[in-house]
């Protein structure tokens, strides 16, 4: 009797749909990562405000970072004279006014997004607000977290 030779079916998995899917996810996360890129100073620990709203539109924002006095950051340490941080560089009040005015010349709808550390004192914030007013900006936003827990805000 002739034994039927058992055919071994070649185990081939079609990977095309999976690769399509993975590419899509990859692009999605890449875009997410670049969109959330703003001028952030990692030393800033934002205060908590449960009623704050997560914004949809992040365009037209100039960021000013403020940390408690004396905190060392990338571009040097903050001091009484130079308490503000823009793009990692410490600056003083005239420098801040100049930076905001220059940016406002190209973006008339500019709003100032202040990332102020929860332990920073109001006198520094006050100077920053005054600098904004001198540069002609009246729309100011404080950055906050909605909850104290780590991970995405709810």
């Amino acid at each position: 009797m002739k034994l039927k030779k058992q055919e071994e079916p070649e185990a081939s998995v079609d990977m095309t749909p999976m690769i399509d899917c993975v590419f899509l996810l990859l692009i999605f996360f890449m875009v997410c990562a670049t969109m959330s890129k703003v001028d952030q100073t990692p030393e800033v620990v934002l205060p908590i405000a449960p009623k704050a709203a997560i914004p949809d539109d992040l365009r037209g924002r100039g960021v000013v970072n403020i940390v408690p006095l004396g905190t060392p950051v990338g571009g040097g340490a903050t001091s009484e004279d130079t308490p503000f941080i823009i793009y990692g560089q410490v600056t003083d009040e005239p420098g801040l006014v100049k930076a905001i005015s220059e940016r406002r010349a190209t973006e008339p709808e500019l709003r100032i997004y202040m990332r102020v550390d929860r332990n920073a004192e109001f006198k520094i914030v006050k100077r920053a607000i005054r600098a904004c007013a001198n540069a002609g900006i009246f729309d100011i936003i404080f950055g906050t977290f909605q909850s104290a827990s780590a991970g995405g805000g709810s």
Binding site: M30, A53, K126, T144
Partner: protein, 149 residues
């Protein structure tokens, strides 16, 4: 003469290294996006300038003072403990204030006047209370020599 049969070379691309690479990138971007905690907005506006000829509605304005220790005063009355960040009493009063202003059809306005050494968290607590009471017109008294800008 026997012609050599030309072999058809099957075009096979080995995709395994590419998929490895793509997976690695995918995982990297996934992790890096979740690391960032989402930031939320709490906004206020500085009083702008009004034209002299404009008729201006006189808003109903209240001033909230914050002392160095975190005590919060509205009309010289103290609200909530300095450690209480939710400020239920202040929110209740602010809601009443807004309702009164709404009934009189004038804008409800809050000016926050913190002392110099007040921590930002306390200022944001008060802003948070204003947001909870749905008061949109919030500003700061920041002028030197008692001058408001």
């Amino acid at each position: 003469m026997k012609l050599k049969h030309k072999d058809d070379v099957k075009a096979v691309v080995d995709m395994t290294p590419m998929i490895d690479c793509v997976f690695l990138l995918l995982v990297f971007f996934m992790v890096s996006t979740t690391f960032n905690k989402q930031e939320a907005d709490i906004s206020f506006a500085l009083p702008g300038t009004a034209e002299q000829s404009d008729s201006v509605e006189i808003p109903d304005e209240q001033i909230i003072q914050i002392t160095e220790n975190g005590n919060v005063f509205l009309n010289d009355l103290e609200y909530d403990a300095p450690t209480d960040s939710d400020m239920p009493e202040l929110v209740k009063t602010l809601i009443l204030f807004r309702q009164t202003a709404d009934a009189n059809q004038v804008p409800a306005m809050i000016t926050i006047a913190p002392e110099d050494n007040v921590k930002q968290q306390r200022v944001v607590d008060v802003l948070n209370a204003c947001t909870a009471a749905k008061i949109a017109n919030v500003t700061f008294a920041v002028g030197s020599e008692d001058e408001e800008i």
